[in-house]
């Protein structure tokens, strides 16, 4: 007994210490002679002393070997008054001298510390942690577990683990636990299955669970580490959705390294270029680039290396069957997580059909323009004959034939004159497109000044005043800009009210264009005709009241559109009209 590693104390029926060993002396800090004959309560902390005699009485009434203080934490009191956590085994001993109790005492300070460290570690874990006993009841949780499942710590402890398993999985769960306990080793739970946790409020969340078997004095327990993967699932879903969009896009979407090795190849790319993803990935993008386009490709790569994007670069690509297609390519750099440019994403759109239609449209427009030009030009010649000779007839034979003849000659020459006017207008209209000059920097104030000089007579005759402030430099065909001003100012003077015409010309910046306005105080018009006035040969007023064939505004619209601008009108009957049109600023002219 003396050599036993545990402290041993023998207590008699009167609770007096009759024997102690060396370990007991060391544990409690007393010399042997100081303890012998003392009541055992001298080793019990004051706060437990009252209950102690009661416990002793209970033990003596039914003495048997057992651990003392089941479920309670026990402490001993040292000589210096400090306490030490202990475990006590009690053995009743019957001797001829009477009934004794042999107490075997273990200092569990170290174990206590270890327990505390474990608890703190669990508490501090970034994941939700649950400890579950072999009876599947929860014995320990951390803060994260409280947050995750919505149970308070007190509420958690003692609950069967199935309470946090969704109902549809509950039945099978004990079986899984059994399976784990039969072969306990650290592993992820439910490999291959999707796991869900159930919160106190009944809602569910996707989770991942790591299981750690721990052998303890109380037997095998399981420490479960649980991660809420809702966010990850959402991100995965978003990623999958994006991937599906990319995969099934009509455009070819290709990933490649900076040296052109293909790393991804969507369905659009399969369709456009004829290679399957398997056949394309790993090969060099050069396989779809015609020899003559390679130089351009290399310069695009340079731009990507310098972290520039390239938008809608039109080029030619080669399909698997060798045919070529016209594509519009948009390239963006791909960066590694470290920010380095490691490759490029390339979106290629087949524009063969668009190009074909575009060319077709251009050709057909040009043809139409040519037709209008030729028709109007070639019509002039015979028309001149008709007009001249009917007039010559009139000159020579007026009054020499009967009255009817005079009238017929008048109709013929009047009709011919009108037609001459229409043909001339048509020619002027078709010339806007076919005879236009390149757009260059033009001082619009000079152009307007020139127009005012050339229509000086009509300004004087009508008593008009024309005002204009500073006007900008614009990108224009000077001849056409002149015609535009002349048409609009001429229009303002022509459709004047009884008051002397007052015309104001202004230009203000409007986005990337100059917005010009020509405002008059004329008769105005109903806005319902706002579109019609820009159509060819459309007149709002009856013939005769106002001169003109109705081509002026159609030509104006065509001129503005050739300058990539737009033209519109705002008008109030009786109050006046404003024509607005936009023009690009001259390069370097600013806005």
């Amino acid at each position: 007994m003396e050599a036993a590693p545990n402290a041993m104390i023998l207590v008699d029926h009167d609770r007096l210490i009759t024997m102690v060993n060396k370990s007991a002396e060391e544990l409690f800090g007393y010399a042997r002679e100081d303890l012998i004959g003392k009541p055992i309560e001298c080793l019990v902390p004051n706060r437990f002393q009252q209950g102690h005699s009661e416990h002793v009485r209970e033990f003596l009434s039914a003495p048997q070997t057992r651990a003392m203080g089941a479920g309670r934490e026990l402490y001993g009191r040292r000589r210096d008054g400090t306490e030490v956590p202990i475990e006590i085994g009690l053995n009743p001993i019957e001797t001829p001298d009477g009934f004794f109790t042999l107490a075997s005492i273990i200092d569990i300070t170290e174990r206590k510390h270890a327990d505390e460290r474990f608890r703190l570690a669990v508490e501090a874990a970034p994941n939700a942690m649950l400890m579950v006993g072999a009876d599947r009841r929860i014995t320990l949780v951390n803060r994260k577990a409280e947050d995750l499942f919505g149970y308070s710590r007190e509420d958690f402890i003692g609950r069967p683990i199935e309470d946090i398993v969704p109902e549809r999985f509950r039945q099978k769960h004990p079986e899984f636990v059994q399976g784990f306990l039969a072969k306990p080793k650290t592993r992820a739970m439910g490999a291959g299955r999707e796991l869900f946790g159930r919160r106190k409020d009944g809602t569910e969340m996707p989770i991942e669970i790591g299981l750690n078997p721990i052998e303890t004095a109380e037997g095998l327990v399981t420490l479960a580490s649980i991660i809420d993967i809702s966010e990850r699932k959402r991100a995965e879903a978003a990623h999958e959705q994006l991937a599906a969009i990319v995969e099934f896009s009509d455009d070819a979407i290709i990933g490649k390294t900076i040296d052109g090795v293909i790393t991804s190849w969507n369905f659009g790319a399969e369709r456009l270029f004829g290679y399957t993803a398997d056949a394309a990935i790993g090969r060099n993008i050069a396989m779809i680039i015609p020899e003559r386009c390679m130089e351009a490709e290399l310069s695009l790569r340079e731009q990507i290396r310098e972290s520039h994007s390239v938008s809608h670069f039109e080029t030619v690509r080669k399909r698997k069957d060798g045919t070529e297609i016209e594509v519009s390519v948009t390239l963006s750099p791909i960066r590694s997580t470290l920010g380095e440019i490691t490759g490029a994403s390339s979106i290629a759109r087949d524009i063969t059909e668009i190009k074909r239609r575009d060319a077709e449209l251009k050709r057909s427009n040009a043809e139409l323009e040519q037709f209008a030009y030729v028709a109007s030009h070639d019509l002039q010649e015979p028309l001149r004959m008709v007009a001249n000779y009917t007039e010559l007839l009139a000159q020579r034979y007026q009054g020499k034939l009967d009255e009817k003849a005079d009238k017929y000659i008048h109709y013929a020459s009047d009709g011919a004159r009108r037609m001459q006017r229409l043909v001339a207008d048509l020619l002027a209209y078709s010339r806007v497109g076919s005879q236009g000059r390149p757009l260059v920097k033009v001082r619009s104030s000079d152009v307007l000044q020139g127009v005012l000089e050339s229509i000086d007579r009509s300004i004087h005759e009508s008593g008009a005043s024309i005002e204009f402030g500073p006007l900008p430099d614009v990108l224009a065909d000077e001849v056409q800009l002149r015609q535009l001003f002349q048409n609009l100012i001429g229009n303002a003077i022509k459709f004047r009210s009884d008051a002397p015409p007052r015309v104001v010309v202004k230009a203000i910046p409007n986005g990337d264009r100059w917005l010009f306005s020509v405002t008059d105080n004329g008769i105005g018009m109903e806005m319902q005709y706002a579109d019609r006035i820009f159509q060819m040969f459309q007149r709002l007023n009856e013939r005769g009241k106002y001169d003109g064939s109705g081509i002026g505004l159609a030509i104006s619209k065509r001129i503005v559109e050739r300058h990539a601008g737009s033209i519109w009108i705002e008008s109030t009957p009786g109050a006046g009209t404003s024509f607005y049109f936009t023009l690009k600023p001259a390069e370097g002219g600013g806005i």
């Binding site: 007039e391 010559l392 001459q420």
Partner: protein, 141 residues
């Protein structure tokens, strides 16, 4: 009595030619008008006149630009390239008012360029104007 003024009118359109001739002849001057209805005929006539002393060269040429067989521009070029012909004043009388035609004609040595106006009276007054200018104002070679 002074000799009549000789004019070569090169015009493929008979109706236009008639109108021009009628207008010219309605004036007070005594004119002798030769009509050539295409460029080739005009050049042949001029070269013939230059070689043959019996035929007189015209005092003035009224030249249309758009002509069959030999274009008016080519006729002009050839006239101005020949020593015996180049002094004869050439008046371009055409319906084209295209700038390129005007510039090209002067480049080739045309002496003046007149666009046929729309309307009979305007045309008549232009023709008289031409007649008056070249035969009463100007000193011809």
């Amino acid at each position: 009595m002074t000799r009549p003024i000789r004019i070569l009118l090169v015009e493929d359109n008979q109706a236009d030619a008639d109108l021009t001739m009628e207008t010219l002849e309605a004036g007070k001057l005594r004119l002798q008008i030769k009509l050539a209805i295409d460029g080739a005929e005009a050049i042949d006539y001029l070269r013939g006149a230059a070689r043959d002393s019996k035929t007189e060269l015209p005092d003035l040429i009224l030249l249309d630009l758009n002509l069959p067989k030999k274009d008016g521009r080519q006729v002009l070029r050839e006239i101005k390239a020949e020593e015996l012909l180049r002094r004869i004043p050439v008046v371009i009388l055409t319906s084209s008012d295209a700038e390129q035609d005007i510039l090209k004609s002067y480049d080739l040595g045309a002496n003046c360029y007149v666009t046929k106006p729309v309307g009979l009276s305007a045309f008549q007054s232009i023709v008289r104007c031409v007649e008056n200018f070249w035969f009463t104002v100007v000193k011809l070679p």
